[in-house]
Amino acid sequence: MRRYIVRRVLASIPVLAVVAIITFGILHLTPGDPAEVIAGPDARPEDVEAIRTRLGLDRPAIVQFGNWIGSLAQGDLGVSAFSGQRVTSLIAERIGPTVSIAVLAAVFAISLGIPLGVLAAWKANTWIDRTVMLFAVLGLSLPAFLLGFVIMWILGIKFQLLPVAGYARLSEGFGEYLKYLVLPSLTASLTLMALITRMTRASTLEVLREDYIRTARAKGLQERLVLFRHALRNAALPILTVVGFGLAFLVSGLVIVESVFAVPGMGRLLVDAIRQRDYSIIQGVVLTVSVFYVLVNLTVDLLYSYVDPRVRY
């Protein structure tokens, strides 16, 4: 088991290397000369040249990459071409809201999606199943921002239960912090929740036909134990895979959710940086999100072997 973990962790290193190369490539693969964009339309040629020299853009790509990796290794993501602020501190400032929304959204999606999926499978082909699946289809087919507006309108404007925009830091009190998080998190979670519900239903339905489920019932176990101890763990592998992929979608969806609910997170940082062609920030955000993807994948893989002992090497 320990050897498997070590091997799996080592295997993510080449992936991270590829991520680094692609992130660096953003600068060179996007159309337009970064120095010209930064200098602005009215800049004189010597100003553009100065910027090019300052950013090291005049040197060979391989040297630039070497320097970039060198500073990356020291945790330095460079500075914003416009504000001159360090990219690491800009990200640090904006990562809190994004991570909070992502975590709460994942909690919503998993803690509601799995029981709903199990329920639908257990009551397969009854009105309960059909109702749950109708919501799952809606959750998958409607775009997140539309759902966001609907939820915002119902909970925030019609019933005035929750604030519709903004963000409160944890230092302003946990209740306040949570109040601002609920709407964006719920919105961000819906697609993933629908995905998890569907996968849980399909996977559980299959498992419920297995002989060992009949054995569990023959033991006189309560249905709760039959479903959650015997069926769900066997149904877990495909669900885990969906959770892993789904988290990636969820994070990309945050760009929109943060705009709808005016949350000052990384999504907003990224949108602003793209508008201004602030390459260091774009690279920093992309890199952070990619590292997050790799970590999620690693965790999912390790969970596989925890959930299903036959996966152990």
């Binding site: 023959a218 006189g220 176990l221 101890r229 763990r233 002992p309």
Partner: protein, 358 residues
């Protein structure tokens, strides 16, 4: 000691005692009946028609004794056992008859009442040891959960009993091995785990559905030996379900033979083996090797295959395959009739004065 009674459908029923347990053990010197099927029916409503998987079956089993339920694959043995457990899944359901156990009719109980009986008072061992244990739970977890639910044992107490039981069924080093998963055990060992689990709550009855069919011949005998030894020791009644009459020769006191959802012959094991009366039983005996006899030189399988249970022919269901058939067989369904002491068969020819020509 045989009582002859008239069944629902006016067939003669040969049971070892009058139904409903109204004569006591002391009266006739026999052990009391623990489980009795009285005209049990279980049908599946399928698009192809109503499949009469179990169609009016009577038999009983007494405290601590072993009876066999025998028949080819598809004759309704598993559905009978699942019916007793209340585990027939849709589109199947019990459509008639009674399952008398502990003074109650199990067919009338609620799901929750049945749940309290399952695994506690009546336990079941399934055919496929490879798929009947949960692959992602340890053997310990699967051994102890029944005891925790029914006997309200604490995990530690249940674990200790699990070690004892696993040792009793012949799993070496049980204390360590019970923390492993089913895929670490061989087929025979898994079936021992199933048996230990089934015995864990001291059930009154064990329904063993083809418990050794999936195992190697040498392992089959060992596993049966273990199961029968423990059932005897704990005074648990066992119903061994099998398609192989040879397998149960040594253990069963009585044998009930099923064909196409009905009982076709019932009798003490010795009579069934030495003097089978129904042509189907006769065929079954010819077609299987016996564990306790030297291998026969030739085994003769029964020709043809079991009928479609949704479209049973008129008359005797066995007629298309029967070499003794007479005209009446195609017109009227034969009813159970005594063919000897404590021995009955549902066959027109067997019931005729001359009996079955041999």
């Amino acid at each position: 000691m045989v009582g002859i009674t008239l069944g629902e459908d006016h067939s003669i029923r040969a049971v070892t005692q009058a139904p409903s347990g109204n004569s006591t053990a002391a009266e006739n010197g026999q052990r009391p009946v623990v489980l009795e099927l009285d005209g049990l029916r279980a049908h599946f409503a399928t698009p192809q028609g109503i499949v009469k998987a179990v169609d009016g079956v009577n038999w009983d089993v007494r405290e601590g004794e072993t009876v066999a339920l025998v028949g080819e694959s598809g004759s309704g043995k598993s559905v009978t056992a699942l019916g007793i457990m209340g585990l027939i899944s849709p589109p199947g359901k019990i459509t008639g008859g009674r399952i008398l156990f502990g003074g109650r009719d199990l067919a009338q109980l609620s799901q929750e009442e049945m749940r309290n009986i399952r695994g506690h008072q009546i336990a079941m061992v399934f055919q496929e040891p490879m798929t009947s244990l949960n692959p992602v739970l340890t053997v310990r977890r699967q051994m102890t959960e029944g005891m925790e639910v029914h006997l309200k044992m604490r995990p530690k107490e249940a674990s200790e009993r699990a070690i004892e039981l696993l040792t009793l069924v012949g799993i070496p080093d049980a204390k360590r091995r019970m923390h492993e998963y089913p895929h670490h055990f061989s087929g025979g060992m898994r079936q021992r785990v199933m048996i230990a689990q089934a015995l864990s709550c001291n059930p009154k009855v064990i329904l063993a559905d083809e418990p050794t069919t999936a195992l190697d011949v040498t392992i089959q005998a060992q596993v049966l030996e273990v199961m029968e030894g423990l059932a005897h020791r704990f005074n648990t009644a066992t119903v061994i379900i099998t398609h192989n009459l040879g397998v149960v020769a040594r253990y069963a006191r009585r044998v009930n033979v099923m064909y196409a959802g009905r009982l076709v012959e019932t009798g003490n094991a010795r009579d069934i083996y030495t003097n089978p009366q129904h042509p189907y039983t006769y065929g079954l005996l010819q077609s299987v090797p016996r564990l306790n006899e030297p291998r026969k030189t030739s085994l003769i399988p029964i020709e043809g295959s079991p009928p479609d249970l949704a479209r049973l022919p008129q008359g005797c269901a066995f007629r298309p395959r029967c070499r003794f058939a007479v005209e009446r067989c195609g017109q009227e369904t034969p009813l159970m009739a005594l063919v000897g002491p404590a021995h009955a068969a549902a066959c027109w020819v067997a019931a005729s004065p001359g009996g079955l020509p041999k």
